[in-house]
């Protein structure tokens, strides 16, 4: 049988008065008073953010300062709470990046809807959207809590890029077909 019956010793008279248990409890709480605090004093002290943390979603630029998003709208479609709204636009003439064809004209993430699931980051074929370390955001109005494109780039900054996908494509197109 899986049940192992244990015989418990009956409490002694002293134990039944609860006094020894109370005294040991008092000892515990007294020692606890001199231990360092377990809490962070938040605005002054900040928690250490572990790698892989999913904070506020942001848009990033590549090391050359170009925007990576091509407004494919995959993130908009995958977003479970429908927090992302993208208005696709074209890449302006004379920027040297006309071959990318598309760039977001407007990119809004409603942070009142966002659930920080990170699916947008996972689905992005351009590695343009990242959930980074920012965890604290507040505002006085609902409108304030919608992050627009410029704000998203401001939050995102620049991240290292190992592909330079569009530079390679451009170079390949200029070099002509390989065969």
């Amino acid at each position: 049988m899986a049940v192992i019956p244990l015989t418990r010793k009956p409490l002694s008279l002293v134990e039944r008065t609860y006094v020894p248990a109370i005294l040991s409890g008092l000892k515990t709480t007294f020692k606890r008073m001199f231990r360092p605090n377990d809490t962070l004093e938040y605005p002054e002290q900040r928690p250490a953010i572990p790698p892989g943390y999913r904070g506020v979603p942001t848009l990033v630029k590549d090391p050359n300062g170009r925007e990576k998003c091509v407004s494919c709208q995959l993130c908009e479609f995958v977003c479970p709470p429908k927090a992302i709204r993208i208005t696709p636009g074209t890449v302006p003439e004379g920027s040297g990046r006309e071959h990318v064809e598309k760039a977001p004209q407007a990119f809004d993430i409603d942070m009142l809807r966002c659930i920080y699931c990170g699916l947008c980051q996972e689905v992005c074929p351009e590695e343009a959207i990242f959930l980074q370390n920012q965890y604290s955001l507040s505002g006085y109005t609902r409108a304030e809590l919608v992050n627009h494109k410029d704000r998203l780039y401001e939050l995102g900054g620049t991240l290292p890029d190992s592909h330079y996908k569009w530079d390679k494509k451009k170079a390949a197109a200029e070099a002509g077909p390989a065969h």
Binding site: I22, L26, T28, R32, P36, N37, T39, E41
Partner: protein, 390 residues
């Protein structure tokens, strides 16, 4: 100075004494509430309140940081908030009694202070004179009689609130008070049996109890906590119950009755209940110290007179035997003991989970009361044997 005081009209004297009580007890109770927050924080690994600051003091370099960390100015912040908050009176309450309840809570809390001696000074002939606002001979009886009135405010608050939780809180408070009042009273009877030996003038005075614990010799200087540990224990447990402190917070029952009797109260009326609770604690601790922990005597077997005598031999200064110095010293010793007791109250509160209502009743009637009666019988027989006329 003393003549000027004695020439004052008795009414003026009473007024000044009353003001003194309010000016001492109110801040002490407020400080206790802050201490409660700090002690609970330390025991739970938190820093506790440590933000409030007064601009002018913030300019002092190190002291300001220390005081801010200690949370001292939260006392002002809390008091200010409670004083200036809107005073909501719910529509369904009995307004007169609703407003009367916190006022009644304060009255017994402040009245009992007058009969509690809080210090002593030595006259030229080496006689100890207790410092007390109203030196009535009924002493402890007055404390018991008046402090029990405090429960009326809880019942009144619970009933006048006209809602379920406060009502239950009020009912529980009254049941608890009745249950523990008995054991409490029985537990101190041995003390008074012992000090009222045959042939001496009978007294219920608390000052006399302290005097008895400051006699020379081994048996004379023994505090009653060593002579009558069971009495002290029963008195202490009943004291926790009488002051509605955890683990006996049946009147409040934060977990199951929201706030118990003060659920419908807010702002300053609520804070009056709070101050009354802490005043009861302060006075209860004071009475416990007078009865069992030697009152204003610094250590067991070392009385105040011994301490002053020792200091005088050491320094040969006339100032140490001056009544003013002795009086202040004795008050300081007494206050330190009271504050240590208040810390003990908080220590217990943040250590032990609260009892269920039926456990409170069972403990009161089936454990503490028989123990108190047995204790009384034992000491009555022992004292009769020891003090029988030869």
């Amino acid at each position: 100075m003393l003549d000027l005081w004695n020439n004052l009209h008795p009414l003026a004297q009473g007024l000044i004494k009353g003001l003194a009580v309010i000016l001492v007890i109110f801040p002490l109770a407020g400080a206790s509430s802050l201490a409660e927050r700090k002690v609970s924080a330390w025991m739970q690994g938190r820093p506790g309140p440590n933000r409030a600051m007064v601009p002018w003091i913030a300019w002092i370099p190190f002291l300001s940081t220390f005081l801010r960390r200690l949370g001292l100015f939260h006392l002002l912040a809390d008091g200010g908030k409670l004083l200036f908050k809107e005073e909501p009176v719910p529509g369904h309450v009995n307004k007169l009694y609703f407003i009367l309840a916190p006022v009644i809570a304060m009255m017994p809390a402040f009245t009992t202070v007058t009969v509690v001696p809080f210090g002593a000074y030595l006259t030229g002939s080496g006689e100890t004179v207790p410092l007390i606002l109203a030196n009535v001979d009924v002493g402890l009886l007055a404390v018991f009689a008046v402090s029990s009135l405090g429960v009326y405010s809880l019942i009144l608050a619970g009933w006048a609130s006209n809602s379920k939780y406060p009502f239950l809180g009020g009912v529980r408070a009254s049941a608890q008070l009745i249950s523990y009042e008995l054991s409490m009273t029985l537990s101190v009877v041995p003390v008074f049996l012992w000090i009222n030996a045959p042939g001496t003038a009978g007294t219920m005075s608390l000052a006399r109890v302290v005097e008895f614990q400051s006699q020379p010799g081994f048996w004379g200087g023994t505090w009653f906590v060593f002579l009558m540990p069971v009495s002290a224990f029963i008195f202490l447990v009943s004291l926790f119950a009488e002051t509605n402190r955890q683990p006996f917070d049946m009147a409040e029952s934060e977990a199951d009755l929201v706030g118990g009797f003060h659920t419908e109260f807010g702002a300053f009326k609520w804070s009056l209940f709070f101050v009354a609770e802490y005043s009861h604690m302060l006075i209860g601790s004071g009475v416990f110290i007078l009865l069992f922990l030697g009152g204003w005597n610094p250590l067991p077997w070392i009385s105040l007179a011994d301490l002053i005598g020792g200091l005088h031999r050491l320094t040969h200064a006339a100032a140490v035997v001056h009544p003013l110095f002795v009086g202040v010293l004795s008050i300081v010793i007494f206050l330190v003991k009271v504050l240590a007791m208040i810390f003990f109250f908080m220590w217990i509160r943040w250590t032990i989970p609260r009892f269920r209502y039926d456990q409170v009743m069972k403990l009161g009637w089936q454990r503490l009361l028989p123990l108190a009666i047995g204790n009384l019988v034992f000491y009555a027989l022992a004292i009769a044997f020891l003090q029988q006329p030869v």
